[in-house]
């Protein structure tokens, strides 16, 4: 059974159809990419999956249950965690607190045990803090736990967003342009991180990315969107030679020409 399946998902804004009857199917434990030119509707599609927008039509099934009519926080609690294209950290909170917010759905402390500082509360906080620290180390943010998130350098902020998303113990991790604005070295590092997240933790990853080196290097399967529609899907080699994809990226005239280097 597929971990995530969308059937004819539609999202419109007034007269504009941002997502038009998109069907995708994700198998558990894979790394899958969504690519497409700017404005293709990729981020809107992410937002309909995570409940930020409610779809105007279609079905979204995750882990055997429909996600329609659920609030974003309920969807997050079902194991669907995400990062944002334009980093959205809690700037005035420390690094470790950002990660602790990610654990929100798993913390069971009641208001009473919080006010009375019961033993159960203290234990839970201590183990949450420990787990947050492990996550910090895992994504490569050792020793900055008490820094304010807004004071971190750009690359570290991207990593923190990933750590925060991982804190919810997701089944599926949605990454929206995680390598945007990174230099080649940083890009290589986060690519390695994504692979290890899948290998160590068995978390399925769906990412939107423009950097073709990342996409071709890491993806086991690719969906291509253009003008709100899914125009192609397949393994990287198939996508690279798909004429509709080349057309979407480079325009009609380029199909006959030298497209290979551009996409590599």
């Amino acid at each position: 059974m597929a971990l995530l399946e969308t059937i004819d998902v539609v999202k419109t804004f007034g007269g504009l159809t941002a997502v038009n009857k998109v069907n995708i199917k994700l198998e558990q434990g894979r790394i899958i990419s969504i690519i497409g030119p700017n404005g293709a509707g990729k981020t809107t599609f992410f937002n309909t999956l995570t409940g930020i927008y409610s779809p105007d039509g279609g079905e979204v099934n995750f882990n055997g249950r429909s996600l329609l009519k659920l609030r974003p926080d309920q969807i997050a609690a079902r194991g669907l965690s995400r990062t944002f294209q334009n980093i959205r950290l809690f700037g005035d909170m420390s690094v470790i607190e950002n990660i602790l917010v990610g654990m929100h759905v798993h913390l069971k402390q009641s208001p009473i045990s919080t006010l009375l500082r019961l033993k159960s509360f203290k234990q839970e906080e201590r183990s949450a803090e420990k787990k947050a620290e492990e996550l910090m180390n895992y994504v490569g943010l050792k020793g900055v736990g008490n820094e304010m998130a807004k004071n971190l350098p750009y690359g570290a902020q991207r990593r923190l967003e990933i750590a925060r998303a991982l804190a919810a113990d997701p089944l599926l991790l949605l990454l929206d342009e995680p390598a945007a604005g990174m230099n080649p070295q940083e890009t290589e590092d986060v690519t390695r991180l994504f692979r290890s997240i899948r290998d160590d933790k068995g978390i399925t990853i769906l990412l939107i990315e423009h950097d073709m080196r990342v996409v071709m290097n890491i993806s086991e399967y690719i969906f291509v969107m253009d003008y709100g529609e899914k125009i192609a899907e397949g393994v990287p080699a198939e996508i690279r030679s798909n004429s509709r994809v080349i057309e979407a990226y480079l325009g009609r005239g380029a199909v006959a020409g030298q497209h290979e280097e551009k996409l590599q």
């Binding site: 995570t50 930020i52 609030r71 974003p72 926080d73 997050a76 609690a77 965690s81 995400r82 944002f84 959205r88 950290l89 809690f90 700037g91 005035d92 909170m93 420390s94 470790i96 607190e97 602790l100 917010v101 990610g102 929100h104 759905v105 913390l107 402390q109 208001p111 919080t114 006010l115 500082r117 509360f121 906080e125 803090e129 620290e133 910090m136 180390n137 050792k142 020793g143 736990g145 008490n146 304010m148 925060r164 998303a165 919810a168």
Partner: protein, 449 residues
């Protein structure tokens, strides 16, 4: 140059035994000044600011608690009974500090701009005003026509019970208001809460018909107070009568009592706020304030968390309302105007949104400015006006100074100026909020490298 010098000096003074010497000498200086010149505003300011040097300088925490307790529980009541005006100032500071701390939960932590906060204060006040007075028997009389010698509905000691009722009722009001409006963000929420604040005030103003619940603009009086046994008064006078110099009346002791209640509420608020802040709920509030979309995507239930913030903030205002009704024995809709909400909000912003010591400092500053400095200045000007004094050089007789130039009338102007200056030079407030530093294993690991 100068700020650097002061910074270095303060750092030096914050080491070794210096803090103890400073705090003790500040407190003793303040106490003796107030004692020797019981009418001086300056002396009173020296005494009040000693609380802040107690907060600022680093000392043993046990010393802080003991010194703070002696100041708040012994020195201030004695000074207050000696000069009842000081007690009034201190009571108002503690009432506003409690209100500002409650609003701080809503505005400072959860980032929900609430412009109608005094509505919850009014709910608490009218709750006790209705049940703690004769109003129940006045229900079918128009204001001003009730017969005299009506009995009271409940004994005065029901006050204690009603503090808890008010907490619950105000929290429920907060939730009721919150349910429809918390889907709104930022400016929209501010406008709706502003409207709600006005609705409550207008209700209080007009609910004198068809049934007379609130007695309209005339307000409800007398409202009962909890009983104070004569033994307590005798005990107080036996103990402190020598220092105070006259026998404290029951009315004075009531003021002390309400001050102590307000202090108790403040301590409870600080306790609750700090514990919540350092938990799942507090982190969720801060996350909502920082970025709603990211917070909800991380699994924070937005509406539930906002309602919780509204309810907790409102409940404290409710408790303070009961306290106000009992201490004044009279309330009217005037006490719950929009300007009051703005006043409390400006205390939060001035002191430092989200910062507990900051908000208390904000409340103290605004109240002292209001009650002492501006009025003292007005008094001084009017004395000059009545004298024959003349400003030299320009040859201006004080007598000709327009009465329009009364500083007390420029309160709002001054607050506006202060807020503008704060926004430009210190937008995070006088004492900005800090996140707690955690002891982390990896921090020590990197420090060793």
């Amino acid at each position: 140059m100068a700020p650097l010098f002061f910074k270095a000096l303060l750092e030096k003074l914050n080491r070794g035994f210096w803090p103890y010497i400073i705090i003790l000498s500040h407190t003793i200086l303040g106490t003796s000044l107030v004692y020797s010149t019981p009418r001086s505003n300056v002396a009173f300011l020296v005494l009040i600011t000693s609380l802040f040097s107690l907060y600022y300088f680093k000392t043993d925490s046990r010393f802080k608690i003991i010194a703070g307790a002696i100041l708040a529980l012994v020195v201030i009541p004695i000074v207050g009974v000696r000069n009842i005006f000081y007690l009034e100032v201190i009571f108002q500071i503690s009432v506003f500090a409690a209100l500002a701390l409650g609003l701080n939960i809503v505005v400072g932590f959860a980032g929900l701009l609430d412009l109608g906060y005094v509505a919850f204060y009014a709910v608490g006040a009218y709750l006790w005003a209705f049940f703690g007075s004769q109003q129940y028997y006045v229900l079918s009389f128009a204001p001003g026509t009730q017969p005299s010698n009506l009995p009271f509905l409940l004994p005065g000691d029901a006050f204690y019970l009603f503090i808890f009722f008010a907490i619950i009722v105000a929290a429920l009001t907060g939730i009721l208001l919150g349910m429809p409006v918390l889907r709104l963000r930022g400016d929209y929420l501010a406008i709706v809460t502003l409207g709600f604040g006005e609705v409550i005030r207008v209700l209080a103003n007009n609910l004198d018909k068809p049934l007379n619940f609130t007695n309209g603009p005339q307000g409800i009086t007398p409202i009962q107070r909890p009983s104070m046994p004569q033994a307590v008064a005798d005990w107080f006078n036996d103990l402190f009568g020598g220092i105070i110099g006259h026998t404290a009346s029951i009315a004075d002791l009531y003021n002390v009592m309400f001050y102590l209640f307000a202090l108790l509420v403040i301590i409870v608020i600080i306790f609750v706020t700090r514990r919540l802040d350092d938990s799942k709920i507090g982190r969720a509030w801060t996350a909502v304030r920082e970025d709603e979309t990211a917070a909800i995507a991380m699994g924070v239930p937005l509406v539930k968390m906002k309602l919780a913030a509204f309810a907790v903030g409102a409940s404290f205002a409710g408790a303070m309302g009961v306290l106000l009704a009992a201490s004044r024995t009279f309330i009217s809709p005037e006490s719950f105007s929009f300007m009051q909400s703005i006043g409390v909000l400006s205390m939060v912003i001035l002191g430092g949104s989200g910062s507990i010591p900051g908000v208390i400092l904000g409340a103290a500053t605004v109240t002292i400015l209001n009650l002492q400095i501006l009025q003292g200045f007005s008094l001084y000007l009017s004395e000059l006006r009545q004298s024959d004094a003349i400003i030299p050089i320009i040859n201006f007789a004080w007598r000709d100074l327009s009465t329009q130039l009364d500083p007390a009338k420029y309160q709002r102007l001054l607050f506006g100026l202060i807020l503008i200056l704060m926004m430009i030079f210190r937008p995070a407030g006088l004492i900005p909020a800090k996140r707690r530093k955690r002891k982390l294993a990896s921090d020590t690991a990197t420090a060793e490298k």
